[in-house]
């Protein structure tokens, strides 16, 4: 079990951070092609089970083993509309200072270049799911822009618009942010290990609030890391075999470096 003692990789810290953001949730849904959010949700579920706490229901789109819906692809949206989905994850080709998300493409719509796949369920779920976690590992000025080229879904709405949901946190490869609905902007919550405020400021195309000396994103304790490297990794392999294999390889590389 020597590899269990190797330090957490940056990806593992992200996964553990996701799990922490799901504290208190009863039911979490994860969209397609989202391995880190899926791993975070699976870790949160495993931690609950280990602690003997009430179970966390998770539904991973595209998984057969980790998806309990039986009413087709409309059911997730119906359940969200009923208030049964506490948390969901959204990415974005562009995300701007007000939490607006662009999943459609760059340039003048409709002839976007590059064109990205499209808005998926964002034009609805961002409004009705209370805890939408924005996850985008690439932290660069081309992703985090002052103003998105196309609003797939807006960060905030006018007071008369039905909007129980919205952005709850923004997690990137460099940092974790909160979202302040009243100020319509992000606030730096913590920097991941080995990243600096200067670096994050330079990599972000919009201004954000922060403490003069921001906190560091905490890493997992040994028990959490062990759970992630055993049960969660096995569960993840069903839906994201390539991602799980890569994560395992990284852990071994880190282990070799640590023991060298």
């Amino acid at each position: 079990m020597s590899h269990d003692m190797s330090p957490a990789t940056p990806r593992e810290i992200l996964i553990c951070t996701v799990a922490g953001l799901l504290d208190g949730c009863r039911c979490v849904a994860v969209g397609a092609a989202s391995p880190v959010p899926a791993a975070g949700a699976m870790l949160a579920r495993a931690l609950r089970d280990t602690a003997g706490e009430p179970p966390l229901r998770i539904s991973v789109l595209g998984s057969e083993a980790h998806n309990f819906f039986t009413n087709g692809s409309a059911e997730l949206f119906d359940a969200a509309g009923q208030g049964r989905i506490d948390a969901f994850f959204l990415g974005g080709g562009q995300i701007d200072r007000h939490g607006n998300i662009n999943l459609v493409g760059v340039g003048d719509y409709p002839r976007s270049a590059p064109r990205w796949p499209g808005s998926f369920g964002s034009g609805y779920l961002y409004y009705v799911v209370p805890r939408v976690i924005l996850y985008r590992e690439e932290h660069s000025p081309r992703v985090f822009v002052e103003k998105v080229d196309f609003i797939s879904t807006p960060g905030t709405s006018e007071p008369d618009v039905y909007r129980p949901g919205g952005p709850y946190a923004l997690l990137t490869g460099k940092a974790l942010f909160d979202f302040d609905k009243d100020k319509r902007g992000f606030r730096l919550a913590s920097l991941h290990p080995d990243h600096t405020l200067e670096e994050v400021t330079a990599a972000t195309g919009f201004a954000f609030d922060h403490d003069p000396d921001p906190a560091t994103t905490p890493g997992p304790d040994a028990a959490t890391l062990h759970l992630l490297r055993t049960r969660v990794m096995d569960e993840l392999s069903e839906t994201y075999p390539a991602f799980a294999a890569e994560l395992r390889a990284r852990i071994q590389t880190t282990d070799r470096k640590a023991t060298a």
């Binding site: 692809s73 034009g123 709405s157």
Partner: protein, 269 residues
């Protein structure tokens, strides 16, 4: 060469609207190859609620004039190259949506009503680019409450692939209920299946709940591995290598033409 699958594909008229399901819900890929061979043109695709290799191939073959979808992608294999090129060139009309808006439009058609209200969308550029979507003030609310109306979506044809049908034309769709939504809403539904079973599906209570009655099914043909390279639940997994091979080939016009040509040759052989 004519097969049962071609007989089905021939029932889709040029210029008509075709509803197709999401990657994991039984994509009629054998019928897609037949449509490309026949050359059915000027199609409007309704992706329920997203599209993949099927939409990309039909677009690349120049057979699509408009797409209504919440996304088009090849999943793990990346973006949809022919779709992206068509968007760049402006050669297809785009009706960008969000998944539940497509479900809402089908639901309206299913119930025979003109529209379905739905939450979300207000303040988005999706709504701004959809003149067919209307915002009204909720008439049942005492305070201002804007809400979007999605008009009913009536596809001319729904096509999908399923594990089995019986001799009465009942089709087993399991928990993939979006296939039922498509069939309820469409004027005709053409289904390919892995096999036709002698036992009536409705006689088995366990299967009956996941069965689409023949009332909604226009015609059926057997196409073994008919979803390939996509997978079919309970039958076979997605052939990721083949989708990646397509993704690579379809990056260029020539690569795409070669891929389609090789496919045709294989079918003729």
């Amino acid at each position: 060469m004519s097969t049962d699958v071609h007989r089905l594909a021939a029932q889709i008229a040029s210029g008509s609207t075709v509803a197709v399901p999401v990657d994991y819900a039984g994509v009629a890929m054998a019928m897609t190859r037949a449509l490309i061979e026949i050359g059915t043109s000027e199609l409007t695709l309704i992706c329920v609620p997203t599209g993949g290799m099927q939409a990309d191939m039909l677009i690349g073959a120049g057979q699509v004039r408009a797409v209504e979808t919440s996304a088009v992608s090849l999943g793990e294999a990346g973006g949809a190259p022919r779709f992206n090129a068509a968007v760049r060139e402006g050669s297809i009309a785009l009706r960008d949506a969000t998944c539940p808006a497509i479900h809402a439009g089908l639901m309206a058609a299913q119930k025979g009503v003109p529209f379905m209200p739905m939450r979300g969308l207000i303040g988005s550029d999706l709504l701004r680019n959809r003149p067919d979507w209307t915002v009204i003030d909720n008439p049942t609310s005492e305070t201002p409450d804007p809400i979007v109306l999605i008009p009913a979506i009536h596809p001319d044809t729904a096509i999908f692939h399923a594990p089995m049908a019986d001799r009465e034309g009942n089709v087993w769709i399991g928990r993939r209920r979006e296939l039922a939504s498509m069939a309820y809403a469409a004027r005709q539904t053409l289904v390919t299946v892995e096999r036709i079973v002698d036992k009536r599906l409705l006689d088995d209570e366990t299967l009956a709940a996941g069965t689409l009655p023949g009332l909604y099914v226009t015609d059926i043909a057997i196409a073994e591995k008919g979803a390939w390279p996509y997978g079919l639940w309970g039958e076979y997994p997605t052939d990721q290598e083949e989708i990646a091979r397509y993704a690579k080939a379809a990056r260029s016009d020539d690569g795409f033409a070669d891929y389609i040509g090789a496919n045709k040759a294989e079918v003729m052989a």
